[in-house]
């Protein structure tokens, strides 16, 4: 590198921290009473004017769900939610409960300020954070026309079901069948909205596609569904961001994401998850049960998952890839921060089926307070996975002495030519490191966030720039008040 370009890098690096990122959303209103039954599902489908096959599919999923047992996890404490007390379809109504911004919890406002979300967004929150049952799903489809010129389809899932039913019928449930697990079945029955992306053959999607989810309502669940299809030799980078206001009750979020990559296609999927984690005493927060799975269907296809998880009271999430096509590759980069009473059980599954497939797993877990952070990963090399390779690295950083970090790597190899490597480290922030920073005028909070961001750098650098900055801020916020 030349001296000049190095300087430029440093300047870029310095300027990065100054970027501000905002969102906006605009929402229709519709409210259902709590409870789940076939009528509720029919009503959801009717409101969305869905094709018949989709209603049938939902009903099959619902009937299957009723036969399933609620899951149990060794490192997570959870009572089974009361599914009849949740509302399954809720969008913000126009009857504001908050008359003005003054009535909104100042902690929410300050959180948004810190996130750099502009005032209009806060006003919007005051305007929409409304009734006892309310929820929001917003799809940011600003450049839809420009994208359509290239043949890229990007719209809400509901619109896709109406406008492109053949694609939905062909791919929905093809990667995550409704029989997959308890929450995937529930989602399949009641999903309300989400995003749909289709990239035609040979097209490089000209911009980052992003969806921003927020839960606003009390006693609602959010069940979104995302489907991304990348045809031969296409490329797309997709971003998903989430926040939720603070509530004393736990709220349920059970999403399903399906990705399909054909020959030579690449899908880059990034998430910054900041659902409300509950307060310092462990009250409230989102239960985040997400099934994300990608299928490297074609040869030389590639799927990469990057996730920054700072929110939710309870997270259960394993973005996974099925490496079916020969020479397909997948990467999983994850930072999970848990604080106070948060519990996270997250990781990935890499299922190698094709020859010469390759996967990389980099997981960074950061635990503070009384939280528990588990990495759970599965690497499976099927009989057919000649010369398949995996490399996994799981690092844990502990802050304080009351938190826990656990690593559960499962390895299942059925082909002698396949190689699997696993490395793991655990470290702590030393008092002397903090004091060194303090002595230079860096407060303990900033010192911890510097160290934590440094620890997570390898993963954060994989995020698109705007998200990387947001992620840095989120990590700083989630550290707040917990050290010193």
């Amino acid at each position: 590198m030349t001296e000049k370009s190095k300087d430029k890098d440093i300047i870029d690096d310095l300027e990065k921290n100054e970027y501000k990122y905002g969102f906006s959303s605009n929402i229709e209103s519709e409210v259902f009473p709590p409870g789940i039954n076939e009528d509720v599902i029919r009503k959801i489908s009717a409101i969305k004017e869905e094709p018949e096959f989709l209603l049938e599919w939902r009903l099959k999923a619902y009937r299957h769900w009723q036969t399933m047992e609620h899951p149990y996890w060794a490192h997570i404490t959870l009572e089974k939610p009361d599914f009849q007390s949740i509302s399954y379809y809720a969008q913000p109504s126009n009857k504001p409960k908050y008359d003005s911004l003054d009535e909104v919890d100042p902690e929410i406002i300050s959180t948004f300020e810190k996130l750099g979300i502009p005032l209009e967004e806060q006003k919007l929150l005051a305007g929409v954070a409304v009734d006892a049952v309310m929820d929001s799903v917003s799809v940011h489809t600003q450049f839809r026309d420009q994208l359509e010129e290239k043949g890229v389809l990007f719209c809400s899932f509901s619109e896709a079901a109406r406008d492109y039913p053949e694609l939905i019928q062909k791919y929905l449930g093809s990667v995550v069948p409704y029989t997959d697990n308890y929450y995937a079945a529930l989602n399949s029955a009641v999903f309300s909205d989400g995003s749909f992306v289709y990239i035609p053959k040979g097209v490089r999607c000209p911009m980052e596609l992003s969806t921003y989810f927020r839960i606003n309502a009390i006693n609602t669940g959010q069940f979104e569904r995302t489907l991304i299809i990348a045809e031969d030799d296409s490329y797309v980078s997709y971003l998903e961001g989430c926040t939720a206001p603070m509530r004393d009750e736990n709220q349920l979020h059970a999403a399903v994401v399906e990705l399909v990559a054909m020959n030579g296609a690449e899908i880059k999927y990034s998430t910054v998850q900041n659902w409300y984690p509950g307060n310092k005493e462990g009250k409230g927060g989102i239960y985040n049960f997400v099934t994300k799975r990608g299928l490297c269907k074609g040869h030389h296809s590639k799927i990469s998952w990057t996730q920054v998880e700072t929110g939710s009271a309870l997270t259960w999430k394993y973005p996974s890839t099925i490496l079916k096509g020969d020479f397909s590759t997948s990467e999983f980069y994850s930072v999970a921060v848990t604080n106070n009473y948060q519990q996270a059980d997250t990781g990935t599954k890499m299922i190698h089926i094709g020859k010469n497939t390759k996967s990389t797993i980099i997981s960074k877990g950061i635990s503070l307070g009384k939280s528990n952070n588990s990495y759970r990963g599965l690497v499976r090399m099927a009989k057919t996975a000649e010369n398949a390779r995996n490399f996994s690295q799981c690092d844990s950083l502990l802050i304080g002495s009351q938190c826990g970090a656990h690593t559960f790597p499962y390895i299942d190899v059925h082909n002698k030519t396949a190689t699997v490597e696993h490395e793991a480290t655990t470290s702590k922030i030393a008092d002397d490191q903090i004091f060194y920073c303090n002595q230079r005028g860096i407060s303990t909070e900033n010192a911890v966030s510097l160290i934590v961001n440094g620890f997570a750098k390898e993963v954060l650098s994989k995020l698109p720039m705007e998200f990387a900055i947001e992620a840095h801020k989120l990590i700083a916020i989630s550290m707040e008040g917990s050290v010193g």
Partner: protein, 245 residues
């Protein structure tokens, strides 16, 4: 600038500082010498606000302010800098990011606008050259994998960036090679202004040939047992510590 009166401090119940009196005025360089374990680093740490040490008696005024009312970072912002005897490694935190955070925090405290990225970069380059810190180190994590001498230089580089009023150099010379010692000392002399002061802790008279002290103190068993001019360092070198015990 600094007034230490009858300072007692202990760690885990053991009294280490047993009544220190020391007065440092702007523009002065004070050297502190003394045998291993006499309490030199303890004194530095107490002044910087390390919470492992408990102040049991006495007072310290810095620029008229009660030092013990200030947190470690406030002391830093007020202009106290400690170059550590053993600088710690902070893996993953880039030198640039670290020093930028530190400089910005100080500017913010002083209610001044932080330098622009271009100005900051220029400043970094100047100060690196001043203390002879290899350019390649600036691209690495703070002290991670640095050699002993590189860590010491890095602390002096940070001092140059932060321009403190009172800098305490705790055995900065140990670990530096002959050339580095000269370069670092020249850097210190360049940074020396009528309105700032240094406390230089060392075991060797050699450093004091480069950084010439106005006053030399000998610390022994938690007390200053002798104070004199720079000739005291020579005398000590010849006679050893038995002479002051």
């Amino acid at each position: 600038m600094l007034e230490i009166l009858n300072l007692h401090a202990s760690v885990e119940g053991n009294e280490i500082l047993k009544g220190i009196n020391l007065s440092v005025k702007a523009g002065e360089i004070h050297a502190i010498m003394g045998p291993n374990g006499s309490g030199k680093s303890t004194l530095s740490n107490v002044l910087a606000g390390h919470n492992a040490f408990e102040v049991t008696k006495g007072s310290v005024l810095f620029e008229g302010k009660n030092l013990f009312d200030l947190s470690p970072e406030e002391r830093a912002w007020e202009g106290i800098f400690l170059a550590f005897q053993y600088p710690v490694e902070i893996p993953g935190v880039s030198m640039t990011n670290f020093i930028k955070t530190a400089v910005e925090a100080k500017y913010k405290y002083q209610e001044k606008d932080a330098p622009s990225p271009a100005e900051f970069l220029k400043m970094m380059k100047e100060k690196q050259a001043m203390v002879g810190l290899a350019k390649s180190l600036a691209g690495r994590s703070v002290n991670e994998g640095f050699s002993g001498g590189e860590k010491k230089k890095n602390d002096i580089f940070q001092m140059a960036m932060l321009e403190p009023k009172l800098a305490i150099l705790d055995e900065t010379d140990s670990g530096l090679d002959i050339d580095a010692l000269r370069i670092v000392a020249e850097g210190v002399n360049t940074l020396k202004k009528p309105d700032n002061a240094y406390i230089v802790i060392t075991h060797y008279q050699r450093l004091l040939e480069y950084i010439v002290p106005d006053v030399v103190h000998i610390l022994h068993d938690g007390k200053i047992v002798k104070t004199g001019d720079k000739s005291l360092a020579f005398e000590l070198e010849k006679k050893g510590y038995d002479w002051v015990k």
